[in-house]
Symmetry: C2
Subunit: 323 residues, 2 copies
């Protein structure tokens, strides 16, 4: 049995074990390219489309690894978590596949599409205010009441090992990358990316992309210690949460740099991705392209993997339509 | 040299020659699935995502086969065509890749996204009224003026052989289909599907899907001869054109049945595909799913290939938003 005590103890064996465990429940998502977006950026972009996971986000990887790694005894009481959305519905999906209960605490401001999906997968929602403080307080009550296993959305080594399987596939699906860019919120995807790339492709640089209006990871990275904001406001609803110790371990050691983008830059990048790559994806996943467009000197001429993290959006409220 | 005189003369060798010729210029598009859409229809649906072609539609296959099959001498004067959009931009893309001029006649009502893409690929647009009569009259003038090689959007055996490569890939990417459903306008995609499946998988049934408001193929199929409307009105802008002799050859011989769907059914199917498959696709490609939902007894329990024909939509004018 591998040791899942903390992020520091994670090895490539954890990623491999996770990949075997979750394969029946996840999609091996395709990597798409667009000549137009390549021309626009001067880079060779490989979009790993995690929006095509059944639950619409990479987070099914970590959620399935946590849920299917539980002993039968531990699984019986189910799982619980707090999440802005995609982890909530991914954990509900995973729990549903295993046939155990799932309780989730979600901010009342989370997109309706995400709340609907949680319910569809059989998850039970308790709403909280859109701040880290409220989220953690409400969650403590829910956990005490249900006794379910807590699966943190990102500060959980089982979750990080699951997210790490995404860049393992990306490496197999491409032929030599120079760098990978992924959005950063709590740091689960970036940490998994660091775990895999630092072991399997240590020359590949790792860039994180963050909204200017929720730039706590950027400021933490520059300061050398975790800085947490309580309730940042950004259209990239998946990226509002702060780093925690297990993700900070990876971010501080293996990330090359963190770039930020404004709200308008995120919306513009989202619209051109929808238009030219023809995929439905969330504002959060547009942040990498926004930072690539903003920092051409860093990416020009490079082979760049871009993680498209999720595709759960309210189709009636598209940000460029101001409805 | 294979014979491209008419549809009747096409063999599986034409499809194979086309596939070799066009491979450097097209994407081998992925096949996506959604457990939600499978539950909803009771079928096992395999979506062949031709919206992920660089020019955003399966029509690059036929256009590239025609353009790259020309002798150097014939290619010199370029190519020309009339099209509601996707063939226009696909031919512009193909001509651009070969470095020869491309003139296209488009209805003035064609989606702006499609007109913009034609220009981006270097195509020269002449507008006509949105009727078959006007389209053919304006085109005659343009062709006389330029002397370019006419590549008809569907009634051209080179084009049909190119479109046929799509279902050859679909067969390779899936493990035994019971049927394939594709939209029908002029019949180019359906004819290519018939060419490939009647040769390589003759047990697979072929269904065509058509808007009720442009149901000339349905009526032709039932009557046993081509019935053409002049200017049908439907949101599925790619499906307004009538069958011609080379596509009628395939439709009349190899199609199992043609089903129709209303405008609202098309819009509903489009929105749920965007939501659950998370792809950007045109109203035209939602017609197959609309007919699958409408005819559950035909498709329930079957393994169904669905051709998603294109993804060039005006993101500012989504039909469910009434803007």
């Amino acid at each position: 049995m591998l040791d899942y005590t903390n992020g520091e103890g994670l090895t490539i064996a954890h990623m491999r074990e996770a990949h075997e465990r979750i394969k029946p429940y996840i999609n091996r998502t395709p990597v798409l390219q667009s000549a137009y977006l390549n021309d626009l950026t001067g880079a060779d972009l490989y979009f790993k489309c995690e929006n095509f996971q059944e639950a619409g986000a990479f987070k099914v990887r970590g959620a399935c690894n946590a849920v299917f790694g539980l002993s039968d005894e531990a699984a019986e009481k189910g799982v619980c978590t707090h999440s802005s959305g995609n982890h909530a519905l991914s954990l509900s999906y995973a729990a549903g596949r295993r046939g155990v209960p799932c309780n989730v605490v979600m901010p009342r401001t989370a997109p309706q599409a995400k709340k609907d999906a949680v319910k569809r997968y059989g998850g039970i929602i308790t709403e909280c205010e859109p701040s880290t403080t409220s989220r953690e307080a409400v969650f403590a009550e829910v956990q005490a009441a249900t006794g379910g296993e807590f699966v943190h959305p990102y500060n959980d080594p089982r979750v990080i090992a699951g997210q790490a399987t995404c860049s393992a596939e990306l490496l197999e699906q491409t032929d030599g990358l120079d760098c990978v860019v992924a959005p950063i919120g709590g740091g689960g995807m970036i940490s998994g990316t660091c775990l895999t790339l630092s072991n399997l492709a240590p020359d590949v640089q790792i860039y994180a992309a963050e909204p200017e209006q929720a730039d706590d990871a950027y400021r933490s990275f520059k300061a050398g210690h975790i800085i947490a904001d309580d309730a940042p406001v950004t259209i990239a609803d998946g990226l509002k949460v702060p780093l925690k110790e297990n993700t900070w371990h990876f971010v501080s050691q293996f990330v090359t740099d963190i770039h930020t983008a404004s709200e308008q830059e995120i919306i513009d990048a989202m619209k051109i991705t929808w238009k030219y790559l023809r995929i439905v994806m969330e504002p959060s996943c547009a942040v990498p392209l926004a930072t690539i467009l903003k920092n051409p000197d860093v990416f020009k001429g490079k082979r760049v993997g871009v993680v498209v993290t999720g595709g759960n959006v309210d189709l009636d409220k598209l940000p460029w339509l101001n409805t």
